[in-house]
């Protein structure tokens, strides 16, 4: 397995990463949880087995 690190981000990558980063993981986790619940409430969440 190669040990090389990730390549340098381009400007485009940096700006999109910056936008994601500014929102923060807490809010992203909340958004995903709420999106799943909204899909469930709309009855369109596919069956998720366990």
């Amino acid at each position: 397995m190669a040990e090389s690190g990730p390549s340098e981000p381009t400007d485009e990558n940096t700006s999109s990463v910056g936008w994601f980063s500014r929102v923060g993981a807490d809010w992203w986790a909340t958004a995903i949880g709420l999106a799943v619940t909204a899909l469930a409430a709309a009855g369109v969440l596919p069956k998720i087995p366990w």
Binding site: V17, D26, L45
Partner: protein, 375 residues
């Protein structure tokens, strides 16, 4: 045991859950796939273990998928090691924990959340004051710096690593103190993970009582969740709720320590006024708690059918499975030797005190005062 080698929460790296928003998707993918693989191995190891025992007519305990996932991750991390290509993805496990907590809201009626939250709030406050005072005293006794003592007190009384990282800038702590405090807190989280469920079964705690105890006593949210689910699903649910209540207080505790160190001229002055203080507390507040409450409100309002409630709950289980795999993969047993004994002794005192005080509170409130939901 501790968990530093995989860069979990080292101070110069972004917080583990933030890696998902700062790294590029392709950097995260290998580690994420490893989390999924280890989680699935853990899940099916439980099934295979029981099938093997049945086939061979053995009488064996049911080893939960939670423990399998953690153990498999632990073996990988401490034998072949975790290649750097996997690290960004593995470090996302706290993000999945938060997603899981938000989705878990579907399993709670909002009234129960508020009732249990209020009950546990009283217990948390007592626990925090007692544990905080004893840890600060022990830190002084063992000659630790005031700020390291503060970090250990914050980590033990509130929410482990997140609280320590949140306090770092506010009290202008040294990186070495932060690393020490994190290592000690994580070491004890691992110890609690394996000992509390055994102890809870030995003394005959109910699911509700154990969930309360784990939520109050275990410092890091991932380990709290794993400890609760190792006991039972019901205990896991209660542990997550109590721990989320504890996490919600993070801003107030960090603010208190920041004001203390600023008054001594050893931290930056905070902006004057209530508004600035409120902004400080809001900045530290774990926002996913709001998501948990919103999902619980939606479930309580009857917006979800029974089938869809099960679907959302299963999302939570899958997210937690990634978390448990991540806890194992991030645990480095050898790191304990590099931590140093003094902070560890102070943290052990903290764990024992918090565990004993919180167990006393749980037994007092549930068996004498008969508080609680569904106990």
């Amino acid at each position: 045991m501790s968990t530093l080698r995989t860069d979990r929460d080292t101070v110069d790296e972004p917080a583990t859950d933030e890696v998902l928003t700062t790294a590029r998707p392709l950097d995260v993918l290998p580690g994420l796939l490893l989390l999924v693989a280890v989680g699935l191995l853990g899940k099916y190891a439980e099934v295979a273990w029981l099938a093997l025992a049945k086939h061979e007519h053995w009488t064996v305990p049911d080893i939960e998928y939670v423990l399998w996932a953690i153990l498999i991750g632990l073996v990988i991390a401490n034998t072949v090691g975790l290649h750097r290509v996997f690290r960004p993805g593995v470090r996302t496990y706290q993000f999945w924990l938060k997603v899981g907590i938000v989705a878990l809201g579907s399993r709670f009626v909002l009234g129960d959340v508020l009732k249990l939250g209020a009950t546990s709030l009283a217990q948390i406050l007592v626990d925090m004051v007692v544990a905080g005072a004893i840890i600060l005293g022990a830190a002084r006794l063992f000659g630790l710096s005031g700020k390291l003592g503060s970090l250990l007190a914050i980590g033990t009384s509130i929410c482990g690593v997140s609280a320590i990282v949140a306090s770092k800038g506010a009290i202008r702590a040294k990186n070495s103190d932060v690393s020490y405090a994190i290592a000690a807190i994580l070491a004890l989280g691992a110890v609690a993970l394996f000992t509390l469920p055994l102890f809870g079964h030995a003394i005959g705690l109910s699911d509700h009582e154990f969930g309360l105890w784990a939520g109050l006593a275990v410092d890091n949210t991932a380990e709290t969740t794993a400890t609760g689910y190792l006991f039972s699903d019901e205990a896991g649910k209660v542990a997550v709720l109590v721990k989320s209540t504890r996490n919600a207080l993070i801003g107030f505790v960090v603010l208190g320590f920041a004001l203390y160190w600023a008054a001594r001229g050893e931290a930056d002055e905070l902006a004057p006024g209530v508004k600035a203080k409120a902004a400080f507390v809001w900045d530290k507040f774990p926002k996913f708690v709001l998501g948990f409450l919103a999902v619980s409100a939606a479930a309580t309002a009857g917006w979800l059918s029974k089938g869809q409630l099960i679907n959302v709950a299963n999302v939570s289980k899958w997210a937690f499975l990634l978390t448990f795999a991540g806890v194992g993969l991030s645990t480095d047993i050898r790191q304990i030797a590099r931590t140093g004994w003094r902070p560890l002794v102070v943290a052990v005192i903290g764990l024992v005190v918090v565990a004993a005080v919180s167990l006393g509170l749980v037994l007092l409130t549930s068996r004498v005062l008969h508080w609680g939901v569904g106990s």
